[in-house]
């Protein structure tokens, strides 16, 4: 009878372990989600952290660098600021610097942007006939940076890590695959 009791307690401990792992995993996922949503509320931005996708702001930001955004409507738009804006009818947001502003007494503002690495201002990017951007086009302001590529340049890892982050942005399915694999790894790994 002793061996049977031994087998039973072994089975119970394995199921307890499994439940514990699943709950643990659930806790990690929900904490991550809460932190992300919390960041969205605090910054007012739909995407508080973004990956730089183009080289138009080099040498400051390279593809693969991280930017922290806020989107407080009451923050005034002034020259020199790095704004994230969307052109009417286009989906991809652009991260460029404000070059010129004209603001009326009632707060209406029209402004012009330019990428640091571009020779000309952004009027060629705006809609046909559009010469200025307005407050409604702004989706965020770059307030902080985490230049991963700068550290990684020296380690010669840039091409590979940069490609991973950019792939995750360009192909959402890849992002889910990576997250799924990460989740699986956490579940399987006991330590």
């Amino acid at each position: 009878r002793l061996p049977r009791l031994h087998k039973l307690t072994l089975k119970l401990s394995i199921t307890c372990d499994l439940y514990y792992q699943v709950l643990n995993f659930g806790m990690i996922v929900s904490s991550a989600l809460m932190i992300w949503k919390g960041l969205m509320v605090v910054t007012g931005s739909e995407s508080p952290i973004v990956v730089v996708l183009s080289g138009s702001m080099e040498p400051a930001f390279h593809r693969g660098d991280l930017l922290f955004l806020t989107n407080r409507v009451e923050d005034p738009i002034r020259v020199g600021e790095i704004v994230v804006f969307r052109i009417e009818g286009r989906e991809i947001p652009i991260v460029h610097r404000v070059l010129k502003i004209h603001e009326k007494a009632n707060g209406d503002i029209k402004f012009l942007t330019k990428g640091d690495n571009n020779a000309v201002d952004d009027r060629g990017l705006y809609k046909q006939g559009q010469h200025w951007l307005e407050k409604k086009d702004v989706v965020g302001r770059a307030r902080g940076s985490l230049l991963l590529t700068f550290c990684l340049f020296h380690l010669r890892f840039v091409p590979y890590i940069g490609i991973v982050t950019i792939l995750m942005n360009d192909y959402p399915k890849f992002k889910y695959a990576v997250l799924f694999l990460l989740g699986l790894f956490v579940l399987v790994h006991r330590e």
Partner: protein, 180 residues
Amino acid sequence: MNTVLSRANSLFAFSLSVMAALTFGCFITTAFKDRRVPVRVHVSKVMLKNVDDFTGPRERSDLGFITFDLSADLQPIFDWNVKQLFLYLSAEYATKSNALNQVVLWDKIVLRGENPKLNLRDMKSKYFFFDDGNGLRANKNITLTLSWNVVPNAGILPLVVGSGQVSLPFPDMYETTKSY
């Protein structure tokens, strides 16, 4: 801890935590530093024209020309967490149609390692100084300021205004003969 894979995994996790700690260290040691330095801006020549704004809205607008000198020592701003400074000279003024106007006349990128001492003479503006209308003529108060955007490896992206602004008036008459 006795397979290559588990050892590699621990090593990777450890390196990641060390890099994260270093990055946070980079951020916290420079987060509250004062990024201001004294700046000297001097304007040697001012000229005003009135032409069609060929850079965008094709309306007849005031076009200003300013020749300036700049000197500043930016060395104190650079540290291990500063990747570059984006310097820009901006003109700020008010007109009848717009309460606030700001136009960047000139900009420069100074990377860490490059010469941080700025000593420029007789500089012409890089960008056309077009007003939104005709508000530059007889405008008594155009303020030129040199500011910079500090780009850190890890941290806040502040806009710092250099002390030593200079205010200048624009002439009452348009220049029709001389060229810039």
